[in-house]
Symmetry: C2
Subunit: 400 residues, 2 copies
Amino acid sequence: MPASPIRKLVPYAEAAKKRGVKIYHLNIGQPDIETPKEMLDAVRKSDFKILEYSHSAGNESYRQKLVKYYQSVNIHVHYNDIIITTGGSEAILFGFMSCLDAGDEVIIPEPFYANYNGFAVAADVNVKPVTSSITTGFALPPIEDFEKCITKKTKAILICNPNNPTGYLYSKEEMQTLRAIVKKHNLYLFSDEAYREFCYEGEHCSAMHLTDVDDHVVMMDTISKRYSACGARIGALVTKNKKVIETALKFAQARLSPPSFGQIAGEAAIDLPVDYFAETKKEYQKRRDLIVARLNNIPGVFCPKPGGAFYAMASLPVDDADMFCQWLLESFNYKKETIMLAPASGFYSTPQLGKNEVRLAYVLNTEAINKAMDCLEKALFIYPGKMIQPGKTLSASYSH
Amino acid sequence: MPASPIRKLVPYAEAAKKRGVKIYHLNIGQPDIETPKEMLDAVRKSDFKILEYSHSAGNESYRQKLVKYYQSVNIHVHYNDIIITTGGSEAILFGFMSCLDAGDEVIIPEPFYANYNGFAVAADVNVKPVTSSITTGFALPPIEDFEKCITKKTKAILICNPNNPTGYLYSKEEMQTLRAIVKKHNLYLFSDEAYREFCYEGEHCSAMHLTDVDDHVVMMDTISKRYSACGARIGALVTKNKKVIETALKFAQARLSPPSFGQIAGEAAIDLPVDYFAETKKEYQKRRDLIVARLNNIPGVFCPKPGGAFYAMASLPVDDADMFCQWLLESFNYKKETIMLAPASGFYSTPQLGKNEVRLAYVLNTEAINKAMDCLEKALFIYPGKMIQPGKTLSASYSH
């Protein structure tokens, strides 16, 4: 089992805090947005006497309400097409375990959400990466690159749309390309749509919008990011493929039921005012515009403008982003402050890729983002491992 | 993935309810005991604004309090020896995945909790049953039976103590036998102690009480039954084996965190009055004494007195308990009432075993248990598949 690459810097962050250094956490996707009061109140005002198991597929009342939510985003499903999971994490695990046998392969465009590796190990399946590049803003790699990877063992393609870690929003055309590949090679299309509501450039095209691939598409969803309710541990596996639902339900029955309190919060979310997302989206968009502008203003930094989610990937003028991120915590501060970033190497499956890239989660308010960017700017100015040209490093004369 | 054997009767139960028949559910381990108000109130009075991820191993404050709870049952651990899991289910899954490779074997005395099969499939490990018998009240099988099963692939023995489905409470001597086996053959001892607080004949001997096997013992725990809080989905994996904790933590990190609300409820449970369990235990014991007496009073029925948990196994004078349980729902009622039982065949891994046995969960009050036993008595009197002597069936002249 691989360790989470984002977690390995934690001891350095803890040591920095002990030295009295304030850290701007741009390294994790824990939003600072308040969870809607209506959701928390629903839990707080609950009045049952026994905290019972729910249905293994989740409360029917919740699944029926989710049908309405999905209708609002033009996804038309029956409540029996939905299994409520313990976070989006479990939806991904159930998808792997229900659709792939041990030793089977799933193709994932890299960079990708690092925990997919963990679920692949748990399900004993192999990840085959198809590389996307920062130079195209992490657009879908060409269809030939996918087809080169397809073997007899290939059973699925997994995308995250909009993407974590790149923020890239797949276009309708790209989704049609994926549709063609999965139909031609008879593969599953796993679509992690955790960030569906946060699209800033154009409409979200769900895998569930694709026609005539009902048996291929398995959508993984979660309320964690949508409503800033990560601790609820409520997600969903959604598919019209009856055999997949039937198999996933057996995994769901083995673990008995998803969390009851979280389901109450999730059900209350469906009744939020229709303009709820508009406000959150506006806030994230403001932050995105700020962080992308600040990043591209730093000499040697390049950050393509992401179309969705709340992540941006940037290339930095450093020889090794892992070292740089550790140095930021261990040896740097500006006015007793520093930043924590996620080195991109952990999001690539192919060794050596992304070595000068980092992921930034814009989950802090604009004031904090500005201060964090001040830190980054100063840090890059003095960093001993700085590169003035690709491939060349400044001599490490500076020691903090 | 195998279907849960307990769930397959559900459609018959639903049909019976639609016909207006009341069903006494002795088939599942969902207690009717109220969840302590203090636990629910802790959740209802919580006042945070963001429902955040917790630490992947669970909130430190909760783990520190759990250390105190474990001290009260003579189990001495550090909070870093504990990973909070999403129900006991996840603790079992993490145990399998952290300690066994694909294709490895785990020995489990049968009959056993049917969902172990599901977790074994999920972790790609093989279950090797060692048969225990109703004639000895499901005592631990002789050590020779275990040793016969041990191969190069064997990595662990899993017990549930007190046992689900048999209610059997392993004695100190039996635990010492297990200690000797795991030491001799260098195996893990997985100990599912979900029902620890419900022991009616003697003291509970935890696997964590065994000396000099710290690296072998992995305890799986849950608050589901202890506090009648099944819907919280809060359990724990506990071990002093640092490598196992380190690996299990990686699986925990991949799925991010256990449910936040459930952890609040779990933490509040530690502050319950010290006599909390005494009352619940007294209630369960009263039910156990009643159900065992009523069962043994029915001609042809045998039910050994279980020492713990809230389950009893009984052999019935029928040719096929699966058919009988279905018939109870489909074709029988007494005063518009019937009972739902769990056929034991689903708890045995060896085919054909337990064909005339059922599991009864005494999770209903004594009045309901009496009425349920009235139903069973009447049903067995008229059941067409009744056996008067072992191996002989009454002619099926009666048709309801």
